[in-house]
Assembly symmetry: C2
Homo-oligomer: 317 residues x 2
């Protein structure tokens, strides 16, 4: 398996990314190769400085990259040789099996939509995040940012995408899919969630358990997958981050709260496109980069994208 | 000043409510009277058992009340002598200056809309909640539950309602009003927040400071008032409650986290109706009931409702 890693992804320096790649490489076994996409002389120098054997990695050279503040669509179009641009082209040509970047999230999404494209039958791809819970199994929240205005049929598909992600990547059998709502009764909600509830109710495509409220957010006895639109998902995820930073400020040093440090999770796949692409949003340290790469490995290994394609090809959508 | 208190509001027993009323009465000064609305013999017996002078209170007798699980609109119509029904009728007749209930929230809202009615010029009333922050000044979040599908013009009005609430009740001068969104730039958001941003930008009616993201939720250096629709507000408020319960479960006993126990705040006024009505949602202990009653007193004392009427009568809406 070949995993492309965007070495130019973070503005400040590729050092953390390369350190993370070195850590990840040590945990991978022989046929797996990391393909480092970035400035080859910087990569050579860094690996040399760390006494790491360069032959353990493949290197694809580029000097171009998309900065964090750049307009994603414009930059992706105008910089075909950017590390993100090259990553998606290598994915499409089958030269890598997955691509991970902690760089410009918008540019990753543009690459996903323009170069990889949606799986036939999927209306809108989405991104998922992991919610810490009291249990060892995480909760999956989706969408967390692609579609701030998701229609009921789009939210319905998120239920299936989330269930497949939970089942194959996190080995949760028959995952419980909940709809984030403002009441437990089926007539509760805004116009979109009420209509979505009617679509999900009685489905045989996934295990719909009904509405889930905000105060059940960490309760994975109730649900494994939580469906919402990209606006609400983004707000909830960021609120959880705010809580973590508050705990840090208040000097509450509990290992449980460390779970709210989303850096630890290492990234979220773009669910519903034709290839495996992982976004490591806001990641800045080597451990998080390592986790992002290992998560990419996991998503490829369990053939999540193939399972999604199969599920939606059988689908009546 | 006369403050009506729904003694029948909580299913289990009026004991906590009466204990809370006794505590509140001790903190109020002479011309202020609490009007206890409920079963008079139960009230007499409870006050007698606590050696409290009954003449300190007024009592309005009723045996009828709306249970927590009842359909709010139907119950409000079919039980005109319920404690909530009587509370709104006393309000409308000017026999009390404010009404507080920890009972059926839906029935309180029905009473607000059908009996008290919206202030002319206000499209949809809303309810606000207090967000704990690092500072001693709280943040105000609104709407937290009336309008899950709020239009941009409705959200715009929430900016003004929240500013008036923050200014008069919490004595925050020229309160900073933010729009909850998924990015700081003005073009970010879903369809509704993008349109709302355009309405709020450049307004002279309140101090609009732009978009606020979920990770800034506890940051009241940035904002004092945070505007969102009732769906997102409800989800965020409940997520904050979930954090609190998580901290309790993890035995993290920090006084700061006690602020996330929303019982302590004692209730949220229904902003934009013609009278002062306070909902003590989910309240179950005497201290919280006391706080609900004292908050009602504060809202009446600063003439919040009159300030809202004046602001919207001058308004071009």
């Amino acid at each position: 398996m070949k995993i492309g890693v965007d070495v130019m992804g973070v503005d400040f320096a590729p050092a953390a990314i390369l350190d993370g790649a070195i850590l990840a490489q040590r945990e991978l076994s022989d046929p797996d190769t990391l393909v480092l996409i970035g400035n080859s002389s910087v990569i050579h120098e860094h690996l040399h400085g760390k006494n790491v054997d360069e032959s353990l990695f493949s290197i694809v050279h580029t000097n171009e990259f998309i900065e964090m503040g750049e307009n994603p669509a414009r930059a992706y179009t105008q910089k075909p040789n950017s590390s993100i641009g090259l990553g998606f082209h290598l994915l499409r040509r089958g030269e890598i099996d997955g691509f991970a970047s902690a760089g410009n999230t918008g540019a990753m999404l543009v690459g996903a939509m323009f170069t990889s494209k949606s799986v036939p039958g999927i209306i809108r791809p989405c991104i998922a995040a992991v919610i810490p819970t009291m249990d060892e199994k995480p909760g999956i929240l989706l969408d967390v940012g692609i579609n701030p205005d998701a229609r009921p049929d789009v939210l319905y598909q998120y239920g299936l995408l989330g269930a497949l992600y939970a089942e194959y990547v996190f080995q949760i059998e028959n995952p419980k899919v909940g709809l984030l709502n403002i009441g437990s009764e089926d007539e509760k909600g805004n116009l979109v969630t009420k209509a979505t509830y009617q679509l999900m109710r009685g489905t045989t495509e996934f295990n719909f358990i009904g509405n889930v409220e905000g105060n059940e957010f960490f309760d994975n006895e109730k649900f494994n997958v939580l469906v919402t639109d990209g606006f609400v998902g983004n707000v909830m995820l960021k609120q959880a981050e705010a809580f973590y930073h508050l705990a840090i400020k208040k000097n509450i040093l509990d290992p449980f709260f460390e779970q709210f440090n989303f850096e630890n999770y290492g990234g979220t796949p773009i669910l519903g496109i034709n290839h495996t692409a992982i976004i490591g949003h806001g990641i800045s340290n080597a451990k998080a980069i390592k986790n992002m790469i290992l998560h990419t490995h996991r998503v490829i290994e369990v053939k999540l994208t193939e399972h999604i394609k199969a599920a939606f090809n059988n689908d009546k959508n």
